[in-house]
Amino acid sequence: MNEKDLLLFDRLKDVLGDPPRTGPVVMDVKTTQFVRVELVLLRLLTEEGRNGIFISVDRPHQYMVHLLNMHQIDHGNLTFVDAVARFSSDCKQAEARVGFLQGPRNIDTLPEALREWSSRSNSSGFDMSKCSFAIVDNLNTLLNFNSHQVVQTFLDDFIKTFEGKVTIPMVIDKERNLNLFQMASSNGRPHLDLSTESVPRIFNRPRLQIIEPNVCGGIR
């Protein structure tokens, strides 16, 4: 993680608390920054071996697994629900605990499917009672496959399913999708403005350093 990501990490930790507060939190994030913010969120939420679930709608879950591996974020306690891999021609490989959906349509039936999956006595994939956080990547993409009404039903039931015991960050671009933002932040759900995360930083002039010749990047 770079300096910007670490600053974001500290900010999120400050806002969400340690351990992170439970319940839904709506986050206003520019679309271009979704993945970055989610990665930082995952680093924070998986700290101390916390369990969680990541519902992948925007791209096959392997991409997030690859990112987590690359950034040395332990995903051993993370369960993926992949809603798009079944109709993607992608053959990218990754090792993770995952359950697949037929597709992202009829998303309002997902909470019931999660409860059913968790209740299977022989399930090695997902235990709702041990879950500390739940993330959907991302709500905006759900609208490509479902009506606003269906997404709203899903959101309400999804939040109810976890009975206020888990952290549910909802990453939404308010400027791009005000309706969705208002829907998610209804019922007094708290929201956090991270829309300035893509604002250019103020340039500071780094000091020069002498690097020894045998160090990678030095004089050869």
């Binding site: 271009t32 990665l39 609208l143 490509n144 009404q149 780094p206």
Partner: protein, 233 residues
Amino acid sequence: MESTDIGRSDLARIQTGIPGLDDMIEGGFPFPSVILVSGTAGTGKTTFALKFLAEGAARGEQGLYFTTLSEPTQWMLRFSSQFEFMRPEFFENEIVYEDLGNHLRGGDSAALLEAIEKRIAEVMPQRIVIDPITVVGEMFKDGYRQFLFDLTNRLKNWNATTLVTGEVLPGELYPPEISYAVDGIVLLHLAEELGARRKYLEVLKMRGTNHVTGKHSIDISRKEGLIVLKARF
């Protein structure tokens, strides 16, 4: 509940940085997407790519520039610094420059794909440039189509808009191997008229976009790089 009436979320778009072009494509390139910028030598492909990255950098977006030409960084900086829009600080921070030359010489397309993905996962860019992609075709004659299919498929999943440049010979429009796999094609033309060479830009394809068609005059200046002029061809 039956979900027949989908929400139809609009495509997210990012500004191209090319004055005049965003107006032709409903506000910018779709995000994420893979766009081919094609043209003969000297039409402004690299200038287009640099402006695209500089625009992102100025907006706080991370850029990643892959060169397939084995061009040293300082050489690249020497030319790009002639443009007023390119701040040297960008190349230490918002624009990461990566030479793929060694991987290309290795001759292993799977290893090249892996190297590209590894760097993307490290840098997490919102804007990627591969300049020029056609060199890869010359190095990997066998399996080039499969490589392009895998590359574009994966690039679309990295949550970035990728601009690949393709060099063609005079008389050709675009490299046919990649055209089917990309979401958009922007052509840069060079035409000799009344003894002078004039440059034009044409949006040939832009998925999910009601784009303006036809050739449009362009100019390249130090201040703004490539500009689409108002008057139509």
